[in-house]
């Protein structure tokens, strides 16, 4: 009996939380399909199906080179994500499993790198990029994202939690570090690598600060800048158009998330963790 009550309570909490967290987005999607900006702010909220339109999406692509932005964002986010997974996983392995001098100091530096806000390093970073003659290129958006103290920390924590016996078995079989890493550690780290991938991809997909400063040519801008352009001077842009732009920007991230989430589930089922 109490088990049933517990299950009901569990679901009640989950449903309320899910609604509270996700419901505000219904408003964005509604705005994206709304023919009238004025209706969006009405109280009590009104909804007339006759006022639905797909026209806002057309306005987005009319006003800004949306697909160009989309491709740029995709290039930047995927490249950073791929590069970050490599640099973070290798570094995390070293911190979790290797013995070397200065490990603690280096790890402290990794953690310390999280603590200086980008808002203050942006000017020196711009000067570095300008020295490298990379400003106004996508490299200026990609390169600063590759190192991630967060990612190293995240993966290190997960590697530490993996049972050491598995690796020892591999070592006894004569595998070197690289083989142990690739053959034993990586296959067991699906969930945490997928987590890092999702977090990294979404973060850079939404980043506004770097492109605003680094990029001037419209052809090399990314989606968040596109949203700023849609908002326009003194925020005179149409709410419906902006909402449509936001909705179009969410979709790819959702696809990445859904794909990665399946991977999280599967990798657990097939991993050797259950022994």
């Amino acid at each position: 009996m109490s088990r049933i009550l517990a299950r009901i309570a569990t679901f009640a909490i989950l449903v309320v939380a899910a609604l509270a967290i996700a419901a505000p987005f219904l408003w964005i999607f509604r705005g994206a399909f709304s023919a009238s900006d004025a209706e969006l702010y009405k109280l009590p909220p009104t909804f007339s199906p006759g006022n639905l339109t797909a026209g806002n999406f057309g306005k987005v692509t009319d006003q800004v080179p949306y697909f160009r932005f989309f491709v740029n964002s995709l290039i930047v986010s995927t490249t950073i994500t791929a590069a970050q997974i490599i640099t973070c996983a290798t570094a995390a392995y070293a911190f979790a499993r290797l013995k070397f001098r200065g490990k603690n100091v280096l790890f402290a530096v990794v953690i310390g790198s999280l603590m200086i806000p980008i808002q203050v390093t942006i000017v020196p970073l711009f000067l570095v990029m300008s020295k490298l003659e990379l400003t106004n290129t996508l490299w200026a958006l990609i390169l600063p994202g590759i190192f991630s103290g967060f990612g190293i920390f995240l993966l290190r924590q997960h590697f530490l939690a993996l049972p050491a016996e598995l690796e020892e078995a591999a070592r006894i079989d004569g595998a070197g570090h690289l083989r142990t890493f690739v053959r034993v550690i990586l296959p067991l780290s699906g969930p945490s690598i997928a987590t890092l991938g999702i977090l990294c991809f979404t973060y850079w997909w939404n980043d506004l600060l770097l492109p605003l400063v680094m990029i001037s040519d419209t052809d090399r801008q990314t989606l968040p800048v596109g949203l700023v352009l849609l908002a326009g001077r003194f925020s005179t842009g149409s709410l419906g158009t902006i909402a449509a732009g936001i909705a179009m920007a969410i979709v790819p991230v959702l696809i990445v998330f859904i794909a990665a989430q399946r991977y999280i589930v599967q990798s657990i089922a097939s991993s050797g963790l259950k022994l």
């Binding site: 004025a38 006003q63 925020s235 842009g237």
Partner: protein, 439 residues
Amino acid sequence: MNFPIRKIALACAAAVLTVVPTAACSDNKSDASSSGDKSLEIAYWNYGPAAETGNKATADAFMAANPGTKVTLTPVTGENWGTYYANVATLIASGKHPDLMLISGEGAQFVHANNLVLPVNKYLDKDADAKALTGDIAKGLIDGFTVKGDVVTLTNAWNDMVVYYNTALFKKAGIDPPKADWTWADFEATAKKLTKDTNGDGKNDQYGFTWASNEIFPGIMPWVANAGGNLTSDDVCSATADTPQVNKAVSFLENLIKEGVSPAPMPMSDVFTRFQNGQIAMFGAGRWPIATLLPKFKDFDIQLYPKGDTYKTVFGGSGYPILKSSKNPDLAWEYQKFTVSEEIEKQYVGTPDKPGDSIPSRRSISQTISKVGVPPANSDLFYNSIDNYPTLVPYPAPAKYSAFESTVLRHLQLIFAGEKSVSDGLKDMQAELSTIVTC
């Protein structure tokens, strides 16, 4: 094997060395200048599609009209004028030197105080075309961009602050459209009549008036000006925020909130939408909301701000000053002149379906707005307000404008939230501004 801490240290040092010389900035010896040729580089604020197409059109037309010249555009993205200036400054710090850069009126003191700009006085004196041009540009627009006798730039486009009102709501409430000589008392009475509880839940949901919480020009400045005050002295060298005039203006607005005639202040973007759905009956802004309202929403017209102890038109403008670092200042002047030519300024007029978002600086062109039939009906008011009425000159826009504006807004938040009295709030504002507004 030792872990190569020393090597890392060396690599760090090398990395620092690449940063440090640039951080100290301004050694642009590497500027293998391509001068001698007729090329110009122009930085502008890319606030949206209109900015880019407009500037491209201008550059293309200029190159067509002046064969052999090459114009390079550097769009600089920013969410507002403030981030635009910050990003241009970052570009300049990295050794880039545009020949011209777009600025707003608030930026005139900023570029002048930082010694960036080449005043155009000498061109105005000797250029034969200049007389005809300046004669067609309202004096206020020239004065607005004059700092210590230096004309920073000709203005290409501008906006004055007017009151937008919802004509349908006026009709529904049985109120006559406001006249140009209305007073603060008339205004308050009108706003009160327009404040209503439309859904009958016992609380107001339609408000007479509101103003932008995030900017001072479409916010408090018209009220301060019409109370006969300003936030800075005439030489923009000291702050005057705690004068009786400013107090009167702020008290008037605070009272509107207290009486429930104005809602809690919100940023401008929210105001536009709420004006269209009838939640707000009146608000203040330049010409830029028209591009948002049209073509769907036509039930509006404009009027001057109501008269307090005096009336002064509050306005802002933009222009393309020539930077001192320009290698082709004469050509740059030709470009600046071109930005105020008929050919270019025509695009600010627009059509009823696709209206322009600012007012042309040339009187003759501005007068075509109502001829083309771009709403609102009272569009002639835009230029008349600067020709026929006194203006708030100079701008209360010291060199550190961003700091100045954010300080003013920060103290106003506390006053309008009812957490500080008007006089205490203004006293604190004045104390802080006195370190920001200096010469």
